[in-house]
Amino acid sequence: MSDRMPRASGYFRTGYAQEMALTKTRLERASLFVFVVLLLAFPYFASAFYLDLANQVFLAAIGALSLMLLTGYAGQVSLGHAGLLAAGAFTAGILYKEINAPIYLTIPAAAVTGAVLGVIFGLPSLRLRGLYLAVSTLALHFIVVYLGGEYETKRGFSTGITIDAPVIAGFRLYGGKIWYFILLTFAAGTLLICVNLLRSRTGRAWRAIHSHETVAEALGISIAGYKLLAFVISSAMAAVAGALFAYYRSFVSVEAFSLFLSIQYVAMIIIGGMGSLLGALLGAVFVTLFPYLIEAALMKLPNAQSYAGLLFAVNYAAFGVVMILFLVFEPQGLVGIWRRIQTYFLLWPFKHKPVAGARK
Amino acid sequence: MTPPLLSVDKLEVVYNRAITAIQGISLSVQTGQIVAILGTNGAGKSTTLRAISGFLGIDDARVTEGAVTFKGQRIENRPPNEVTRLGIVLVPEREKVFPNLTVAENLAAPFAPSMSNAERREREDLIYHFFPRLADLRTRTGGLLSGGERQMLAVASGLVCKPELLLIDELSLGLAPVVVEDLMQRLLQIRKELGITIVIVEQSAAVALEIADYGYVLENGRVVLDGDRERLTSHGDIQEFYLGQSSGDRRNYRDVKQYRRSRRWYG
């Protein structure tokens, strides 16, 4: 794992098995257990509103994790993530409308669509880097969304495609509580896949490409192969998130996948903290809940109702401000803040970490 | 003794907040002198010059200790454009001209402090007087110049900034000896006619000591030896390791080690 520093003082690894273990100390295991129990118990206490928020967070988390793999680890910038989500959602929607396909077919189909699109999104990355790559993904986003819109108008669903709640073995997947568990499972699964990918050869290859392409190539890493792989995996995950979104909302429309959504996903990984899965999760939570926090804050003001029409604009402006603040003042994101707090307590009563190779 | 034009006092520069490039270099430059800074690759010569002329944010380098004083004013860690306006101009080692600008544009781009158009034209004539070749090349693009022409243009565009102190990094790099000889004579002429003080950084001691009044030898980021031209040219180590003149008999490894040991005393 990337953090060389033991998470608890006095803890040092004594074998390779320990290095590979997902949880390292008893405290970690205990807190993970408590966290899981809380997650599982949550739907039994929460209101429908909070349940919906949690579900949105899970959906965003899948998308943010996949983008983090691509951008935060493999270093390939994408401004077209919403296009991939749209592709997944439309695959599910179209298959449902045209051949009435069940959910256990549409979700894998969405993943395949995502993977194929991933190759297409990834091809420019073999020639382009940085800015130009970002621009090419931006252009692809517009093209995917155009194709979706084209389908809507040509088939006469100009307001969008409605999808009925899917049925598996006579059981109707409907309601916030059921979807809470479905989405939680998918989000946890994505997280597990990401964690394992990153500590395998693939993850190391991605990180090598991110730090220096030429050096990575000289070390015998197939640049083209791993770049495409990053795009394929990330896009497949994003497409699955899109398909789940379609089922959860029972509705697909191009309007939901604007450029702003792409930017929101980029914002998630920046605000969360580049190069950290925890960052992707924190970013997903933050960006998803942010508009609701703004709304709640606005409603506290005197004669709140008169502002209601402006809510959307306030959200936009506040979101821009937050993004700028993070980019300028905290490029490491929420994870950076979290790590600083962690180190503070870990090193207490000392103040600074001894820097390896520090002067004098 | 009059206070020096430029004095560098126990200068220390750190790159990327981690790598110490020079540690505790001190030099002083008197008005009207030509001072040579000698040393091999990585000795810290270029870094010293860059520290005097100022770093940009993208360099990620800082003067962490010591002082650079120019005409009684502290100038370390000032941005390059301010240092240039104070009268210190650097001719860098690489990328010393704007490749996509013509020669005339290269000479027009530098910012000269409060200069009227007449003064500017006068300055231009002066430059073409020192480097008549550039006048013929006015419309040629900087990237298409030969190495020697490029070096001329670099010095010339430095002169546009009206320097009192000209810092030149590796004048002789990649140039034929006859071209270097010519450039050195131009520098002497510039000093004589404009009274500009010059600091040159060189790997080639033979070239530098030909025109320099005083010299410093740097190794591993420290000054290991300094003195006027007579002292340096006659110094045994310099003769052997920089001028390549052996005193006749074959040297063996022990002598080199002897030198390595002895040079610590200079630091």
Binding site: R127, N315 | G54, I58, P80, N81, V97, S157
Partner: protein, 290 residues
């Protein structure tokens, strides 16, 4: 003939906007994705000055022009200046965030409704019949003229103006430029100011011609392929790129499918990125800058 007029007008719009992308990219290697929003801000500024200088349209336009120049400089001084020395990508994302912020603010201040600064200024917009049977509205004609003038002025400034030469110098080698006494911050601020100014002029003329809504941002975004197809660091390229994009868009609306209008620029962009990523007139080594 009308088709030809449409192509020229649309290309002029794109060209006038695209030169803003080129200016900033060429001088500071930053891609300004907030350009569309800044352009829109320019037309809203005109709306405001039109109501405060009612009866003096010339004064209103002059004030709006000065204000937009100031806005550009302020954006650099208060925001982008902090991003110098950071990764190019962080700077781009900052402009994206700025765009979102501006979009929100503009709706808050001026609402999202369609507005007509032309009416506020008391201008009418009669169509002019052209020889050959085409028609062009007055402000569209003015826009074509403004584009021609802007490009002529920019070419002249960058070629012969002392600060223009300095801008080119800073774009080629910022360190050497600083060592030659050029204040990089001044040059960058100037680039941002000029870029916002040209964008705002485009925005004002578009809004005078066809009203002002917040969909104008899309036009700004579609002008970006024009800049890239021509080469992000080439003014002449932006002109050619705008012509290609404009023609392709008008022709595909006419002969294939109106829905395509929002995609065609990006299809061409992708094609260009595959074949010649540095654009028609761009410098090749730009590609490696990340």
């Amino acid at each position: 003939m009308q088709l030809f007029v449409n192509i020229i007008v649309l290309s002029s719009i794109y060209a006038l906007i695209a030169c803003g992308y080129v200016l900033i990219y060429r001088v500071s290697r930053v891609l300004n994705l907030a350009h569309g929003e800044l352009m829109m801000l320019g037309s809203y500024l005109l709306l405001t000055t039109a109501s405060s200088f009612s009866g003096h349209p010339a004064a209103a336009i002059a004030a709006a022009v000065v204000l937009s120049l100031t806005v550009g400089v302020l954006v650099y001084v208060f925001l982008m200046r902090k991003m110098t020395g950071e990764m190019a990508l962080a700077a781009v994302l900052t402009t994206v965030a700025l765009g979102i912020l501006l979009r929100g603010l503009m709706v808050l201040i001026w609402s999202a409704q369609q507005q007509y600064p032309g009416q506020a200024l008391g201008f009418s917009n009669p169509a002019i019949a052209l020889p050959g049977g085409g028609r062009i509205s007055t402000f569209a004609a003015l826009l074509v003229l403004a584009t021609a003038l802007t490009y002529a002025a920019l070419f002249f400034f960058l070629r012969f103006g002392r600060w223009g030469v300095r801008m080119r110098a800073a774009g080629q080698n910022p360190l050497l430029a600083a060592q030659r006494g050029i204040n990089l911050h001044a040059v960058y601020a100037l680039a941002w100011g000029l870029s916002t100014l040209t964008g705002s002029i485009a925005g004002m003329l578009i809004s005078l011609d066809s009203g002002l809504t917040n969909t104008m941002v899309i036009i700004g975004l579609k002008a970006f392929p024009a800049a890239l197809v021509g080469g992000l660091d080439s003014l002449a390229g932006a002109l050619v790129g705008a012509l290609i994009i404009g023609a392709a868009e008008v022709l595909s609306i006419q002969y294939i499918d109106p829905l395509l209008s929002d995609v065609v620029p990006f299809l061409i962009l992708i094609a260009m990125l595959v074949v010649r990523p540095w654009g028609l007139f761009g410098t090749r080594e730009e590609l490696d800058r990340v």
